[in-house]
Symmetry: C2
Subunit: 746 residues, 2 copies
């Protein structure tokens, strides 16, 4: 991955089939509503996208995917289908990017053609993907090809493409472009019906999925002097034109595609979308799109001076977070691969609240609201799930589809990672804290708090001879420790959930007695300590009785995942953490643990933590900063930051690690800038710990409705109040009052 080309631009220099999928994921463009992986417009020969194979439920950490040079991906959040083994999964929709030049019978193909000067750039500021190359045809002609592509940030159902071709001599050029529905998702065909027809000037495609969703697509192609004919084959329809291109007179082909689904209002048809913008030129559409993205960045950009590499990495994280959020739609959240791949089946996990929420909550709270609405909207399903486990109340699914159904196939996660329910309640409480105060939680939110608390009350066991409650048989975020008792993180999240319900429970339908019981139980749930060292918080009962880890024997080079080197059986009986639950606990509740306790945890768990989870490094960076371990913090930050950009080692091939991207933001804002969350502090507080070589760190924050802008330099912090209310702000422990429009300095 070459990060040159400006701090807004990700660049791919030269084409390498080995990294093609990684760039497809990394260069995904989207509008929230519609996303496309950055497949090449002309695709590859012999790379069918409709292969059938039975993908089995498996541990994704160590799973091997079917290899292909490229993988199309067209995703509309919320469009799920039923897979016979993987349950509900996000459907990979028909591919509409096709735009292929053919000269003298030779089709441009990066795996076969003579191509020079391949360069592709993602301009993150404008969310626009561009590609240029020189193609020397077998017939001896040279063509310069330039592609540009964006999905409109304003007209979010609309994809806009342009191809510009110049040549060194007269060329009879054939252009093909259409819609290709020969697409399976994880090897499965979710299309019950596919109709492809020609329309005036284009191609239309109607798909009915196995979940009875209807997908409409229409594409229109234009080029000066082109006369388009129509061609079609099974599940593929295209327009074709033959144009003579003269040297010095480039040909420009435009392709606009609109995609609508039965999740849109009935009046939003693809044709209507295209018609609506028919009068707008490429430049018009692009100008509006860029203005939209400028506004997005204005509210979210983090500026780092003195470190171009960190700057561009952070912008990549923020770009994908902004792209992946579905504006104003509380029926979905952001899936684990950020709508840039189907590997995690488009499911929503606990990181929705634990990792993604803070970025939105402190940059654009109205976006964060959709996450809360999403969970509240699925409360009834969560009640059904609780009942299926013989429990009262509501239990959220480990892997959720848009309808809140449990989609996890593997019982050890599905049945035992019950901490997701605590994360949901924590997210709801966090949201209301950050926008005003927990007491302002809506009635529906209070009801969610009560129903989840009722689940915990039922899920808790009182063991013979013990008076304190226990939560038995759980898996914490550390997925290498299955079915353990009194996991520290899970217990604390359950206690948080119960305490939250105790506070807002009356409005959520609980009696005073019930609320009192919630509060009592919350206070009684144990966080275990080591007998040998009372300062050491134990991940779970019996943690110290596990087998010693054997990294030096099986993982001496520390390359790749530890899980790929040993059997799951060994993982499950040994002290080897995928990520450290106790470190995460201390990152989320920093005030509840002394420095000595954090240090004891750090020294105990770090040597046995594999960081096989992409969620691990960011949290470790934050806790390292608390401990003053700046070198370690930096190393963890860069480890977390690099993952999607590391195209040489897979990177984003299966999709964006979107929770990791949000983790990067957390390292910057909660770590280096030392901001305390609204759950941790009533006052906006910072405690800057900037890396030595950074000359400036600047970012916007919204605190309880008031937008501020923060600028930190070495030894100096300025916070500008851009809102309409005076705000108390604390930096490194010193509080100042900052009036609207003014700038506080520390």
């Amino acid at each position: 991955m070459d990060c040159t080309g400006g701090n807004w631009i990700l660049t791919q220099e030269g084409f390498d089939i080995a990294t093609a999928q990684a760039f497809e994921g990394l260069f995904t463009v989207g509008s929230g509503t519609l996303h496309t992986r950055a497949s090449l417009e002309e695709h590859f020969a012999d790379c069918p996208q409709d292969s059938r194979e039975l993908r089995r439920p498996a541990n994704v950490t160590a799973e091997k995917f079917v290899h292909a040079p490229g993988r199309w991906g067209t995703f509309v959040p919320g469009v799920f289908g039923h897979h016979p083994l993987l349950l509900q999964e996000m459907i990979n929709l028909p591919w509409f990017l096709e735009l292929t030049p053919v000269v003298d019978g030779e089709r441009l193909d990066l795996t076969a053609s003579n191509v020079q000067g391949f360069r592709r750039t993602l301009n993150m500021r404008t969310a626009t993907l561009s590609r240029e190359l020189a193609w020397q045809t077998k017939s001896g002609k040279t063509l310069r090809v330039l592609h540009e592509r964006f999905i409109s940030g304003c007209a979010t159902n609309l994809s806009v493409q342009r191809m510009r071709i110049e040549c060194d001599q007269a060329v009879e050029l054939t252009i093909l472009g259409g819609i290709d529905a020969r697409v399976t998702t994880n090897g499965f065909d979710h299309f019950r019906l596919v109709e492809i027809r020609e329309t005036a000037g284009g191609v239309t495609c109607r798909v009915v999925t196995d979940a009875e969703d209807t997908i409409g697509m229409e594409t229109r192609l234009t080029a000066d002097g082109a006369v388009w004919t129509y061609g079609n084959a099974e599940r593929h329809g295209w327009r074709q034109a033959v144009v003579t291109v003269q040297p010095g007179r480039p040909l420009v082909v435009e392709k606009r595609t609109a995609v609508t689904t039965s999740r849109d209002p009935a009046s939003t048809t693809p044709a209507a979308v295209l018609d609506c913008h028919a009068g707008a030129s490429w430049d018009d559409l692009r100008r509006r799109h860029c203005a939209h993205w400028a506004g997005e960045w204005e509210r979210a950009d983090i500026r780092i001076e003195g470190d171009d590499e960190s700057q561009i990495i952070l912008r990549s994280s923020i770009y994908h977070l902004l792209r992946a959020h579905v504006p104003g739609d509380g029926r979905v959240a952001i899936c684990a691969k950020g709508y840039a791949g189907d590997a995690y089946k488009g499911h929503f996990f606990w990181d929705t609240e634990a990792y993604l929420l803070p970025f939105f909550l402190y940059t654009a709270p109205e976006k964060a609201r959709t996450f809360i609405d999403f969970r509240i909207g699925n409360l009834a399903e969560a009640q059904k799930i609780a009942a299926s486990y013989g429990c009262r109340g509501a239990r959220f699914p480990w892997e959720s589809d848009a309808d809140g159904r449990e989609c996890c196939c593997e019982f050890q996660y599905r049945d035992h990672e019950i901490h997701v329910t605590g994360a949901v309640a924590h997210g709801v409480a966090h949201y209301f804290s950050a926008v005003g105060g927990v007491a302002q939680a809506s009635d529906a939110a209070a009801r969610l708090a009560v129903e989840t608390a009722r689940y915990w009350m039922d899920r808790i066991d009182y063991r013979k001879g013990e008076t304190s409650p226990s939560i038995l048989g759980v898996m914490g975020p550390d997925e290498y420790a299955p079915i353990t008792h009194n996991n520290a993180y899970t217990n604390r999240m359950a206690a948080f959930n119960l305490a939250f319900a105790a506070r807002v429970g009356r409005r959520g339908g609980a009696t005073d007695e019930e609320c009192a019981a919630f509060a009592r139980t919350a206070a009684a749930l144990p966080i275990l300590r080591s007998r040998k060292n009372p300062e050491l918080v134990l991940q779970c009962e019996g943690f110290e009785s596990l087998a010693e880890s054997r990294f030096d024997e099986f993982w001496a080079d520390r390359k790749g995942c530890y899980a790929a080197r040993v059997s799951q059986e060994r993982l499950y009986r040994s002290k080897n953490l995928k990520q450290a639950d106790v470190i995460l606990l201390m990152a989320m509740f920093p005030d509840e643990f002394t420095d000595a306790e954090v240090k004891a945890a750090w020294e105990t768990y770090l040597p046995v933590t594999t960081h096989d989870s992409s969620l691990s490094a960011a949290i470790h960076a934050i806790v390292a900063l608390r401990l003053g371990l700046f070198d370690e913090a930096w190393t963890f930050f860069r480890k977390s930051a690099a993952i999607d950009l590391d195209t040489d080692h897979g990177g984003a091939a299966q999709g964006i690690h979107i929770a990791g991207a949000a983790g990067n933001w957390q390292v910057l804002v909660l770590g280096f800038a030392g901001m305390r969350t609204a759950l941790q502090s009533n006052v906006l507080s910072f405690n800057p710990k900037l890396p030595a070589h950074w000359t400036k760190l600047a970012f916007p924050i919204v605190w309880k409705g008031t937008p501020v802008h923060v600028e930190m330099e070495r030894g100096r912090t300025k916070v500008t109040n851009r809102g309409s209310q005076t705000l108390d702000i604390s930096v490194a422990g010193r509080i100042a009052r900052v009036a609207p429009g003014e700038c506080g300095e520390w």
Copy 2:
């Protein structure tokens, strides 16, 4: 289930579609080499056997099967194919029993025809299935139909059927009979190729499976005066004849079918088998078959006087054990459903050694030898499995196919029920003890002992701060306690295995030092006791810290499986045992525990044991007898004994609970007769504890090569030495020497 009709005969009076599958399983006939479920010769209309559905890996205890009135089953041990999800599974072969009468266009069909006097009997003494009924046709004619069927115990590839039809008036009768390959196994088609052709007088079928096994079948039909035409459709070929039957002149149709596979010598073709017996009449074939079975029973029958019901139940157990054993073939063992159903996919489990072996070992040791050969033959595959877990040595698969491959799809069993390896070594040691002495173990057996011991040495962990070895992260036979530490049963079996290897290890390739290490480790493996009550052997670490069971809340009626009432998640965190590991441990090693210890275990585990496993009750009966709990022993015996005969509650619908059948034998011989195994005693010993209403219990035993016959009456025991060597025999602690041909009395 009606057990009238003599102590050798199981009877089905009247036909009920609801119990059809249970009788299909219970009335399975077979020769070891070839088995057929007792499907009706004319089958049912609208009951296709080639439906396609994706059976998923699931917990069989609580699994729901696709419902159909009947389920064909034609099984040849060792014929496995590859299922995309279930891995290797035994293939359900083409069905050859078809023999259907049609009168005036009406096809006999038990679900549609007017049938009176339906009566079906399995004569266990002769391993012959008979059926009679009166059929009143819609055209007003009455036919008496009698079917008989056996698979020759002498010519084990040969099925012999006969149908006799009488009528009350002249009838033009159409007879259809052929081979039907429209069969799937667990909803999957394993037939890569099916060829069906006519032959002189019959139909032949050649199937090539997806594992490249070739199955040959040929069927020939004969009936006086019949002219047979040939018909075929896809995967179904048949002969058809129209015969006029006159009152008083019954028509007899004979159908003989031979089945061979690529497991047979190449010269054994179906035609050759049929030709070889072509000169033998029905009576000839039947006489030889009956003589064979008479010999089988001579060596295995248990006679119970004073209790006809127990008598017939025991005979049913023994019948299926005799039927299911493949004579002289160490390439296979007996699958979990006794070749009477495909529900457990034809896999071999730990019960091969723990439950099945003793019956064969003490009635026909040369049959037991095939079990030992089976495991020894798969040692190389077991080494591969150990390596796949990062361990040296050999680790046997939880679910084995004929090639010793791991076929279990669910990790909690596959990865964690490592006690199977101990059971294999225990079985080998038991075999050699019973036929002479452990020291006489063959070199190959010694090598198995060493390789399995090496696995244990590597699988063992030494935890920080502890000097004793631990076996961490296992599931014992109690499958409701996943991933626990130092399971008492598993530790003891591992110690047994290590001690066995220490004893025979030099011949198995181990050094003296290695053998000494085996012995040291065996002695050091802990059997944990409760801190509160040192007489209580703990199932595993932390057993007392599990949640209390909640039977009264979720299972007040105690009907069906507890596992069907609660979530697996609840099972996994609670004190609810599928079967009791500690009770099993004490049954296998009775001398290592005091009566007080056995009593403490009984009182602790019994109240929380669900007996959801069919293996549980028999072991509890044996231990109850030790404790002098005669009423409890009787209840457990009848619970164990009834399972396959309980046709009203499923019974053998999915196949015979063959390990349970062997458990019944163990209750009789090791329990009521109080015999000690060759691992427990060097002297043949009995300690009779007969139920009060039994007037006599008599059975044959082979002890270290010497056959004896035992007769117990109340207060009197006689043992006749039928061998050629003098034998010391102990009854109730009193030893006597019994010479060949003599009868000792106590």
